[in-house]
C-alpha cells in the first residue's frame, strides 16, 4: 500500500510539476516498477482516497516527495531519453559525477587511500641484509651514522632493525647496488647477502605485532620450561636488548645428586675412584640407549622446592664461592655456576621461557617466597605485591585506605568506580568533597569484626569474620569450619551472607543419610566432587570420602516404629563410650545407630555417631525438652509401657523383636509401622485428604480415604504422619499437638492408639 501511495504521489507530482513532458512519458519511469495495472482506469475513484490520504499524510508525502524527487532525478538521467544518450562521453561524465566519491561509502574511501599508499613499483624497495647476530641495532645505527656523515653519497632511504628478527636488517633503497655500496666497509653487515623483499611482503615487515608487555622489575612471572616449569618467580632485572631477564626462584636442587655430580666431574676424584675400581655414574642421565637403538630421554626427577642452605651445601663438600655480581654489586654464593642469595636462586633466562601476563602468585607461593626461614615477613614485600596486583574489585561503599602518596593512610569510602580512577569520600572532618585516586594506590580496609566473603582466589566462596588485619592480609575465621584462613584483602568483600558451603551435589544433600557400598553414613560435608561421610560405626568415628557414584542410594527418612525410644530432634546425652558426656540433638537414626549433632563438637561438622544404647534422652524435642529435663535411661523403660506403645494394628511380633534397651530398632521395615495409621496426604492428586493406611509396599502406600469410599495408592513421600508418632511436628499448625500444654489430655485424637500414648515424648523412653 505504501508503495502504491508513493507511486501515486509520484504520479501526482508528475502532474504537478511537469505535466506536459511526463504525461506522455510516464512509461520510462515505470520500467522497474510494475504499475501497468494501476494505470488502468478508475483513477477518478481512487483520487478521492488519494486526496484524503494525502490530507493525512501530508508531511510524509512531502518527504516522500523529496525522496522521490531525488530518486527521480537519479533515475531520470540514468535512463536518459533517447535524445540525450547521443553523447556517450557525457554519459560517462554524468555517471562519474554521480557515482564518484561523494556517493560511495566512506569506509571504502579510507581503504582506497590505504591501498594507494601501498608500495608500488615506483617506490623504493626493501632489501633484507644479513648482519652479525645480536648486532642488528648496531648495524642500523652505523648505517645511519654513515649516511649522516656522507650525505647524499649514501643512497639508501632508511634502515630497519627489528627486535624479534635476529641476524637481519632491512634497508630501503632503489637499487641493490646502493645497498651494497652503503654496507661496504661496515664490519657488522655482510653486504654479500642482499635479498629483495617482494612488494607484497613489504608491509608485513613492519606490521608484525610484538608482545607489548613490558616485564618490569619485581613483577611476578612463571617459568615455562625446564625444571622450574610452572614455578613462580620474581623479576630482578630486565635486559630488553638481549631479551633476557634475571629472576629469583626457590631452588629445586637435590644437594646429594649435585654433590655426586660435582664429584664425578672433578677429574682427580674420578681418577681416584676408578683407580679403586669404582665406576661412578652420574645420577642425572639424560638419555639412555635402548637395545633397539632408539634414544629416549629419561624423565628427570624434579626435586622439591627448598631454599638453599649454604651450610648444608658446604657439608656435602660442594664448593661454594662467594662472588660479586658486577652489575648490582651484590654478593652471591656461587655453587656449580648457579647464583644464590638468601636461599634463593637467581637465574638469567630468556624472555621466551617465562610467562608474565596475569600471573598471580597464590598465597602459599607468596608465603614461600617471603618466608624461606620461618617467621620472617618482609613488609616491603607486601608493597611489591601491591604493585603487581592486577585484580582489584572495588565496589561502591567499600571502605578503603590509601597506601601510597601524600594521602597515605587516609581512610575513606568509595563513592564511584571508574576504570582506573576511584572517587572516595574521605573520613575526615571538614572534607566533604570526593577525591579521585588511582585504583593502584588503594587498598581495601577491613576492621576486625567485619563479616566478609571471599570472592576470588583459592578460597573463593568462603565467608567468615575478620579477626586480624596484617597489611594486605586478613585473617578470617570461617563460618563453617571455624578455622582461620589468610586471604588478601583484595579478594574479599564485605557481606552479611553466611554460606553453608556447597550443600548439594547430585541427588544428595548435606545431612542426608545414605547407603554406601559398605555400610551407611551421614553426609557431613559436600565438596566439589565428593562427599565426606561419617560412617555409621558407633563409637569409632570413621570418615570416608566417597564419590557421587559410590553412594548407592539415600536412605529415606522413614517413620520408624511406634516404639521409638529416641526420635529425631531429641536431645540426648551420651553416657557410655568415648564421647561420654557429650550432648546434642539427634539428627538421623538408622539401624540402632544415632547421629547426634553437637555444636560443641568440632570434628566432623559436629556429628557424633553412637549406638542408641549408650545414650539417654534428655527431655523431648527442643520445644519442651528443656523444661522437663527428666532423663530416663532407656533401660528403665518399664515393660508395661512398652506393651502399650504398640503399633496399632501392627502384628505383635514386631514388637517382640524390639530391643528392650535400644533406642532404635528401626529402619529397614519402617514402612510397616504405617499400617493402620491415620495420615494426611500432603501432595499429589489427593492432597489434604485424610485417610487410614491399609498397606505399604516399598514406596507405595495404600490409603483408605476418609471422605470417599475409596482406597487409593499414593507414594510414601506424599503423606505424612498425622499422628506424630516418631516426631512431634510442632510446626504444622493443624496438628493440635503443637499447642499442647505439658499435660496432654488423653482425648481420642488418635482413635487407634491407647490412651497412654504420649506424643509429647514424655514417656517415650
Amino acid at each position: 500500500m505504501g508503495r502504491r501511495r508513493s507511486r501515486k504521489n509520484e504520479e501526482s507530482d508528475d502532474f504537478d510539476d511537469e505535466e506536459d513532458d511526463f504525461r506522455g512519458k510516464k512509461r520510462w519511469r515505470s520500467e522497474f516498477i510494475d504499475d501497468i495495472a494501476e494505470e488502468d482506469g478508475d483513477y477518478d475513484e481512487e483520487e478521492d482516497d488519494e486526496e484524503i490520504e494525502d490530507g493525512f499524510i501530508v508531511d510524509s508525502g512531502a518527504e516522500l516527495q523529496e525522496e522521490d524527487d531525488g530518486r527521480r532525478k537519479e533515475r531520470g538521467p540514468f535512463f536518459p531519453q533517447e535524445e540525450e544518450l547521443e553523447d556517450l562521453e557525457k554519459l560517462e561524465q554524468t555517471i562519474q559525477n554521480r557515482y564518484g566519491p561523494e556517493y560511495g561509502d566512506y569506509d571504502d574511501e579510507m581503504n582506497v587511500e590505504q591501498q594507494a599508499l601501498l608500495p608500488s613499483v615506483k617506490d623504493p624497495k626493501l632489501w633484507i641484509v644479513k648482519c652479525l647476530i645480536g648486532h642488528e641495532r648496531e648495524a642500523a645505527v652505523s648505517l645511519m651514522q654513515k649516511s649522516f656523515n656522507k650525505g647524499s653519497v649514501v643512497q639508501i632511504r632508511s634502515v630497519i632493525a627489528l627486535d624479534h628478527l635476529k641476524n637481519y636488517i632491512y634497508v630501503e633503497a632503489d637499487k641493490e647496488a646502493h645497498v651494497k655500496e652503503a654496507c661496504k666497509g661496515l664490519r657488522s653487515i655482510y653486504s654479500a647477502k642482499v635479498v629483495q623483499v617482494p612488494i607484497k611482503e613489504m608491509t608485513d615487515v613492519l606490521s608484525v605485532e610484538s608482545k607489548a608487555i613490558d616485564i618490569s622489575r619485581d613483577s611476578w612471572v612463571r617459568m615455562k620450561t625446564g625444571i622450574y616449569k610452572g614455578d613462580i618467580a620474581q623479576v630482578v632485572d630486565v635486559d630488553n636488548v638481549r631479551q633476557r631477564v634475571k629472576v629469583k626462584l626457590i631452588p629445586r636442587i637435590d644437594l646429594q645428586s649435585l654433590a655426586n655430580k660435582l664429584l664425578c666431574f672433578s677429574l682427580v676424584s674420578r681418577i681416584n675412584l676408578i683407580f679403586h675400581g669404582i665406576h661412578v655414574i652420574p645420577l642425572m642421565t639424560s638419555s639412555v640407549d635402548l637395545e633397539d637403538g632408539r634414544e629416549f630421554v629419561k624423565k628427570k626427577v624434579v626435586p622439591a622446592q627448598r631454599p638453599m642452605n649454604i651450610d648444608e651445601a658446604s657439608e656435602m663438600h660442594i664448593r661454594v664461592v662467594s662472588r660479586r655480581d658486577p652489575i648490582t654489586g651484590d654478593y652471591f654464593e656461587n655453587i656449580a655456576d648457579m647464583m644464590f642469595k638468601h636461599g634463593f636462586l637467581f637465574k638469567t633466562v630468556s624472555m621466551r621461557s617465562i610467562s608474565s601476563q596475569n600471573i598471580q602468585p597464590t598465597f602459599d607461593e607468596f608465603e614461600k617466597f617471603w618466608k624461606p626461614k620461618d617467621g620472617y615477613y618482609d613488609i616491603a614485600s607486601f608493597s611489591t605485591l601491591a604493585v603487581s596486583r592486577r585484580k582489584c574489585h572495588f565496589m561502591k561503599g567499600d571502605a578503603v585506605v590509601i597506601i601510597e602518596g601524600d594521602l597515605k593512610d587516609l581512610m575513606g569510602w568509595i563513592e564511584k568506580v571508574e576504570d582506573e580512577i576511584v572517587h572516595i569520600r574521605l573520613k575526615m572532618k571538614g572534607l566533604h568533597e570526593t577525591i579521585c585516586i588511582n585504583k593502584k594506590s588503594l587498598c581495601k580496609y577491613f576492621k576486625p569484626g567485619d563479616h566478609v566473603k571471599v570472592v576470588s582466589g583459592a578460597r573463593e566462596g568462603v565467608t567468615g569474620m575478620v579477626i586480624k588485619v596484617e597489611g594486605h592480609v586478613l585473617i578470617i575465621v570461617s563460618d563453617i569450619t571455624k578455622e582461620d584462613i589468610r586471604v588478601f584483602s583484595d579478594h574479599v568483600v564485605e557481606s552479611s551472607e553466611v554460606t553453608t558451603g556447597v550443600t548439594r551435589l547430585g541427588d544428595y544433600e548435606l545431612r542426608d543419610l545414605v547407603l554406601l557400598n559398605n555400610g551407611f553414613g551421614v553426609i557431613i560435608r559436600v565438596e566439589s566432587e565428593a562427599f565426606q561421610v561419617l560412617k555409621g560405626n558407633a563409637n569409632k568415628p570413621e570418615v570416608v570420602f566417597v564419590k557421587l557414584r559410590e553412594i548407592k542410594r539415600k536412605i529415606e527418612h522413614r517413620f520408624s516404629r511406634a516404639n521409638n525410644i529416641v526420635c529425631e530432634k531429641d536431645v540426648v546425652r551420651i553416657v557410655k563410650g568415648p564421647y561420654k558426656g557429650k550432648q546434642g540433638s539427634v539428627d538421623r537414626i538408622h539401624g540402632g545407630v544415632l547421629f547426634i549433632k553437637d555444636r560443641h563438637h568440632l570434628e566432623h561438622a559436629g556429628y557424633i555417631c553412637v549406638k542408641a544404647q549408650s545414650c539417654t534422652v534428655i527431655g523431648g524435642t527442643r520445644a519442651d525438652g528443656g523444661r522437663h529435663g527428666d532423663s530416663y535411661p532407656p533401660r528403665a523403660v518399664p515393660k508395661i509401657l512398652q506393651n502399650c506403645i504398640r503399633p496399632p494394628g501392627g502384628p505383635p511380633t514386631e514388637f517382640n523383636n524390639n530391643d528392650v534397651d535400644g533406642g532404635g530398632h528401626r529402619g529397614g521395615r519402617g514402612h510397616d509401622s504405617l499400617a493402620g495409621k491415620t495420615i494426611t496426604i500432603r501432595s499429589g492428586q489427593y492432597k489434604s485428604y485424610r485417610g487410614r493406611v491399609v498397606d505399604c509396599k516399598g514406596q507405595s502406600v495404600r490409603v483408605e480415604l476418609e471422605s470417599q469410599m475409596k482406597v487409593v495408592i499414593v507414594s510414601h513421600n506424599q503423606i505424612y504422619d498425622h499422628v506424630a508418632v516418631s516426631t512431634p511436628y510442632w510446626e504444622t499448625p493443624h496438628n493440635g499437638l503443637g499447642s499442647e500444654t505439658p499435660m496432654p489430655p488423653r482425648t481420642p485424637l488418635h482413635p487407634y492408639m491407647t490412651p497412654m500414648r504420649d506424643p509429647g515424648g514424655l514417656f517415650l523412653l
Binding site: 567485619d450 563479616h451 579477626i467 582461620d484 560443641h600 499448625p733 503443637g738 500444654t741
Partner: protein, 178 residues
C-alpha cells in the same frame, strides 16, 4: 547485654484448651514457645516477666484454632554487641582457639586474638598457658573477653571475641583454685 523489652507475638491455641483457664494456658504456651529462642534482632529471650495484653482471639475458619493476634509481653532478652565486654565460661579448647559460652551465646576466641605469650598445649586437658605457667585457660575457666564481631544465624548468634586487650583474660581458674 540484657534488655527488658516488650515484644509481640501472634499465637494460636487449640480449642481443647478453651475453658476457664484459657488465659493461663495461653500464657503457658507463650512461655513455652518463646523462652529460650533467639531472634536476630532482639537476641535471646531469657525469660518472660509478664504479659501485657492479649488481643481478641478469633476462630480461624477451617482449622478451628483460635488465633490470638497480638500478645504483648515483657521479657528479658540478651543480645551481644560488638565491642561489649563479657564474662564467659570456657567450654572447649583446641589449637585454633577456644570456645566460651556466656549464657546461650557462644563466643569463639581465635588463637590470633590470644596474647602471644600464651601457647596451646594439647594433652589430656588442652589448655592455653603462659610460658611461666602462671595463667592458664582451660575448660571451665572463666574469662573476660571482648566481642569484636557478631554474626546472626537463623536462630543463633555467634560471636568472635578477643582477650588480647587490657584487663581481659582469665578471671578465675578452676585448675588453680583446686
Amino acid at each position: 547485654m540484657f534488655f527488658h523489652i516488650v515484644l509481640e507475638r501472634n499465637m494460636q491455641l487449640h480449642p481443647r484448651h478453651f475453658g476457664p483457664n484459657l488465659r493461663e494456658k495461653l500464657v503457658a504456651k507463650l512461655m513455652k514457645d518463646v523462652e529460650g529462642t533467639c531472634s536476630g534482632r532482639h537476641g535471646f529471650v531469657v525469660a518472660i516477666t509478664g504479659v501485657d495484653s492479649i488481643g481478641k482471639g478469633l476462630i480461624r475458619d477451617g482449622t478451628g484454632l483460635d488465633h490470638v493476634p497480638h500478645q504483648k509481653y515483657q521479657c528479658v532478652v540478651f543480645r551481644p554487641f560488638k565491642g561489649e565486654i563479657l564474662e564467659a565460661v570456657v567450654t572447649m579448647v583446641n589449637k585454633m582457639g577456644f570456645f566460651a559460652e556466656a549464657g546461650q551465646v557462644q563466643i569463639f576466641v581465635s588463637n590470633h586474638l590470644i596474647p602471644d605469650d600464651m601457647e596451646f598445649q594439647s594433652g589430656d586437658i588442652p589448655n592455653y598457658t603462659t610460658s611461666d605457667g602462671s595463667v592458664k585457660i582451660q575448660k571451665e575457666s572463666e574469662v573476660r573477653l571482648k566481642i569484636i564481631g557478631t554474626r546472626v544465624d537463623a536462630t543463633e548468634i555467634f560471636c568472635i571475641g578477643t582477650i588480647k586487650d587490657d584487663f581481659l583474660g582469665v578471671i578465675n581458674d578452676p585448675g588453680a583454685a583446686a
